[in-house]
């Protein structure tokens, strides 16, 4: 979509990111996805009388980890507040969140635009809060069911500055954020299961206008593609309304993935007065400098630093480095392969990025489910490096490994694929091919250079593909030259 000339969109995102703690933020209940309804809901989660919240310190640690990774400030004292509204899946009649004093504030994230340039996006704040439960409307006659398994799941809500200008920028920001939280190990990033959800605030204005236009908030857009579509729809809709002489109402809208449209849900006038006030059941969260420093020390290498190191240390192209650092698991896998194989880092990169990822893609598997461990994969590359097999044979061995036929060495041995490096054997094969193809030889010597490939193929075939390609090339050229 191209934004019409003279117009500009202003976009800010609010991302709800479920923290992958063992238990809920204020109770000991588990937070596993997909459990039997209400089997992970304790009296605390149910908002029973007399029940009190007790803060899960791991949620605090994960929030601080996030804050440090985006260069944000960590509040030495942050405060939980109650946000009130009535809804059946909100057991206490209020959500425990943070309001005036969030734990993380003033961070930033650099995103990469399509033209290769980078843009710095401000992160206003990230605060800790509890998730609500779920209303279930199917399968009940004239009533709804409530599943409170999710109630109390720890979240951080990450609020960006209105620094984004296009749907593509918004998606780039979201993807970057998603990669980051998964890298940090603070969120499983599963968007289908709702572990990473996004609300988009969108407004439009004439370029150069001093103030932002009135914004709408589109709720719960749960895939990168939907975010892009929802924002594009909103931009287009708002410009149309204004150009037709109308005004934008400040309202909450819902995205319908089937139609690709957003629809008004409630206006600002209907909005709840949340009546925030500090939760008297919880003490302020105090983060000392020592505590923050200890978390800083335990931060993993972040994607950008890793990517730069892969370029510098392994001599990879920026493209390969980006691919191989797209997830922490993949990067670790690659590094383990390099270390164990002793093969050239670039060769390893090609094999991991192209062959292994290709095969995994076909199986719809992630690197952590790879049928070949890094050690086993390294053993294969080692055989290329020490010239036991050549690259072509290695592809066959790789396929066999994917099929579960054994280790590289077992397959090489069982199929007799050891590379022929004995030059007399190669010469014999070449001479045989030349002798059998006098016409082609004459043509080649007469200037038909293209026939060289024919001889390579025939000679390779004669060695069942096992000839060392370097040796074969050198010897073939000698023999053909006569």
């Amino acid at each position: 979509m191209i934004i019409p000339a003279g117009w500009e969109a202003v976009i800010g995102l609010e991302v709800h990111c479920q923290l992958s703690t063992q238990s809920k933020i204020f109770s000991g209940s588990a937070i596993a996805y997909g459990a039997e309804p209400n089997s992970q809901a304790s009296p605390i989660d149910l908002g029973m009388p007399g029940m009190l919240p007790v803060l899960n310190v791991d949620a605090v640690k994960k929030a601080v980890t996030f804050g440090l990774s985006v260069g944000a400030k960590i509040a030495d004292r942050s405060v939980f507040a109650r946000k009130h509204y009535f809804y059946p899946d909100l057991p206490k009649g209020y959500q425990i969140s943070q309001y005036e004093l969030p734990i993380v504030y003033e961070g930033l994230l650099d995103i990469e635009l399509e033209d290769g340039s980078t843009k710095r996006i401000g992160i206003t704040r990230a605060h800790l809060e509890e998730d609500a439960g779920k209303s279930v409307h199917e399968g009940f006659q004239k009533s709804s069911g409530i599943d409170l398994n999710r109630a109390g799941t720890p979240l951080i809500e990450i609020v960006s500055e209105p620094d984004l200008r296009t749907a593509q920028e918004a998606v780039a920001y979201l993807k970057k954020l998603h990669q980051l939280v998964v890298y940090l190990g603070i969120c499983d990033g599963n968007m289908q299961e709702g572990s990473f959800r996004c609300d988009a605030n969108v407004s439009v204005r004439k370029i150069g206008a001093p103030k932002f236009g009135t914004r709408t908030e589109t709720k719960n857009v749960n895939s990168f593609r939907y975010v892009e579509k929802a924002i594009e729809y909103e931009i287009e809709r708002q410009i149309e309304v204004i150009e037709a002489g109308g005004t934008i109402r400040q309202e909450t809208r819902l995205f319908n993935p089937d139609t690709g449209e957003t629809k008004a849900m409630r206006s600002k006038e209907d909005a709840n007065d949340y009546r925030y006030f500090p939760d008297p059941d919880l003490l302020p969260v105090v983060c000392t400098q020592d505590y923050i420093d200890a978390i800083r020390k335990s931060l993993p290498e972040l994607p950008e630093a890793k990517r730069a190191r892969f370029v510098a240390e392994f001599g990879l192209s920026d493209y390969d480095a980006k691919t191989l650092t797209s997830s922490r698991e993949l990067a670790s896998y690659y590094e383990a392969v390099v270390a164990a194989s002793g093969a050239e880092a670039k060769l390893c990169a090609n094999w991991v990025a192209t062959d292994l990822l290709g095969a995994l893609n076909k199986m719809s598997k992630g690197i952590e489910e790879s049928p070949i461990t890094a050690e086993a994969f390294a053993a294969l590359l080692k055989r290329i490096a020490d010239k036991t097999i050549n690259g072509k044979i290695a592809k066959d061995v790789f396929e066999a490994m994917v099929a579960g036929e054994g280790s590289a060495d077992e397959i090489i041995k069982a199929k007799g694929l050891v590379q022929v490096t004995d030059e007399s054997a190669i010469i014999a094969a070449i001479d045989d091919v030349i002798a059998k193809n006098p016409q082609q030889l004459a043509d080649y010597r007469g200037g038909k250079d293209k026939l060289y490939g024919f001889f390579v193929g025939q000679a390779m075939k004669a060695t069942q593909g096992k000839a060392n390609p370097d040796a074969l090339n050198r010897l073939l050229k000698e023999r053909l030259a006569g």
């Binding site: 009296p43 149910l46 908002g47 029973m48 009388p49 007399g50 029940m51 009190l52 919240p53 007790v54 803060l55 109650r82 009130h84 009535f86 059946p88 057991p91 206490k92 009649g93 209020y94 409530i146 007065d273 009546r275 925030y276 006030f277 008297p280 059941d281 919880l282 003490l283």
Partner: protein, 486 residues
């Protein structure tokens, strides 16, 4: 048996003069005989009590008894009890049975105490006369035409009439101390955070604190000792060892400095109450205490501050009672909104609804700064007044507990502001979080009255020591309402 102190009862059990089962049966019989008129119990748990008594008798027989083993107790119906209804004085929870015990219930069970039943109270502890209870008013054993005070009306009436040796209670703005004063009992509200709030139904979380009503400071000290302590399930409970509240009771109070806040002795209390309190001051002076006039200049702001903070927190705490998961649910609601409105409209009484409305208002957008935030600032000033006094060498502060003796039913119930002024002397301690207690100091026209002691954080032991010394020198606390003495 019902006129004996806890120490006497414990000795009787140890010496096999009677068993815990006999003691329990004695109280159950008295409840049966007298509570029809008093209405102090909303639930009597005879079967559970006898089972606990038998277990206690076994412990006693094995020679493993503690001081409280086998001693009966009444539990205010604000503390959740597993398997026994906890209604909190409200129709909203008339059918509510918690699947868990409050921490203090667990602790007193573990100490071997025998729960006789659950005690009547103002609805959600909101009231000063026990007239807001869904289960009807409680009568004052000293004069059944008068209120016992509130919100712990059932707790004080049952102990004053000898229907339990001791009872638990809670205090958000005076709900232990004012009823104790009106029924000739000793009631103590410890430092905020000393007793766990886990399983205690919240009224105003930053003010609520559990405590005891008893017939003497010694009895109160023994039970409070067993209730106190850090609880990892309550983030606001304080991680600090519990002082020995009992061993120092006999310490001399000579040289102790007690502050008399001039603001508390201005107009407000009745002439009879003033006279009794002056007499108490004279008695304590004889025991060696020094008195000094002090000023707590912000104390006149206590009531307005309290009536912003407490309703604000209450409006939030009571939001969970929506008819969806438990509690009263309106029948035949056609929409979600109707379900909410009718469930809450039918389930809550007038006083609770009034406070929810006040609380909702003061937290609303545009009013928050003027009310709630302002009240929190004043609260700080009230706390600073006490801090200054204690830093200036004041050990304890003495004041009236209530403006007058028990009033008649209906006297204040049409005028909420007059009712709220009942708490004028007691509220500051809740706002400041400091411990406070009330103890008997004589009678005005045959009706009991009391005075209040307030101490610095965690000064419970010192306060109880002074109270005990006072009670060694006086006999007011040993007096019984005639009808219930024998």
């Amino acid at each position: 048996m019902h006129t004996q102190t806890i120490a006497q009862l414990a000795a009787g059990l140890r010496e096999k003069k009677f068993s815990s089962r006999e003691l329990t049966q004695h109280f159950l019989k008295r409840i049966d005989a007298h509570d029809g008129a008093l209405n102090s119990y909303v639930t009597i748990t005879a079967e559970r009590a006898l089972k606990q008594a038998d277990a206690a008798d076994a412990v006693i027989a094995a020679g493993n008894a503690g001081l409280l083993t086998g001693i009966p107790i009444g539990q205010k119906d604000i503390f959740c009890t597993q398997g026994v209804r906890t209604a909190c004085g409200s129709k909203m929870l008339d059918t509510f049975i918690a699947p868990y015990d409050a921490t203090i219930v667990e602790k007193l069970d573990a100490a071997g105490m025998v729960m006789l039943g659950k005690l009547n109270m103002d609805e959600f502890a909101m009231g000063s006369s026990n007239e807001t209870s869904f289960y009807g008013p409680v009568c004052n054993p000293w004069d059944k035409t008068r209120v016992p005070g509130g919100s712990s009306g059932g707790s004080v009436a049952c102990v004053a009439a000898g229907l339990a040796p001791v009872a638990t209670a809670t205090d958000t703005g005076g709900s232990i101390r004012q009823p104790a004063a009106l029924t000739n009992l000793t009631g103590i509200k410890p430092t905020y955070g000393r007793v766990s709030r886990y399983g205690m139904i919240a009224f105003a979380s930053s003010l609520d604190q559990a405590g005891v009503v008893a017939r003497s400071a010694e009895d109160a000290a023994q039970v409070l000792q067993a209730m106190s302590g850090f609880d990892p399930k309550d983030s606001t409970s304080v991680e600090r060892p519990v002082d020995d509240l009992v061993s120092g009771l006999n310490t001399s109070i000579r040289g102790l400095t007690i502050g008399l806040p001039k603001e508390y002795f201005a107009d407000g209390m009745s002439a009879g109450v003033r006279e009794r309190i002056e007499q108490a001051i004279a008695t304590l002076t004889k025991l060696g205490a020094n008195f000094k006039e002090i000023s707590l200049p912000n104390s006149p702001l206590s009531v307005p501050t309290y009536y912003v903070v407490a309703p604000a927190e209450a409006s939030s705490n009571l939001a969970r009672f929506d008819g969806v998961r438990y509690g009263h649910r309106a029948e035949g609601a056609k929409s979600l909104e109707e379900l909410y409105k009718r469930s809450r409209g039918e389930g809550f009484g007038a006083e609770v609804q009034r406070r929810i409305m006040i609380g909702t208002y003061v937290l609303s957008h545009g009013y928050y700064d003027a009310y709630y935030l302002q009240a929190q600032k004043v609260r700080r000033l009230i706390y600073d007044d006490f801090k200054r006094a204690f830093a200036d060498g004041i050990d304890l502060v003495l004041s009236p507990t209530a403006t007058d003796v028990a009033f008649k039913f209906g006297e204040n119930s049409d005028d909420p502001v007059a009712m709220y002024l009942n708490d004028i002397y007691t509220i500051a301690a809740n706002l400041a979080g400091i411990p406070a207690m009330s103890l008997p100091c004589g009678f005005v026209d045959g009706l009991p009255t009391g005075f209040q002691l307030m101490g610095n954080f965690f000064a419970e032991a010192r306060m109880l020591n002074v109270a005990h010394q006072y009670q060694q020198a006086t006999d007011f606390h040993t007096k019984w309402p005639t009808e219930y003495a024998s």
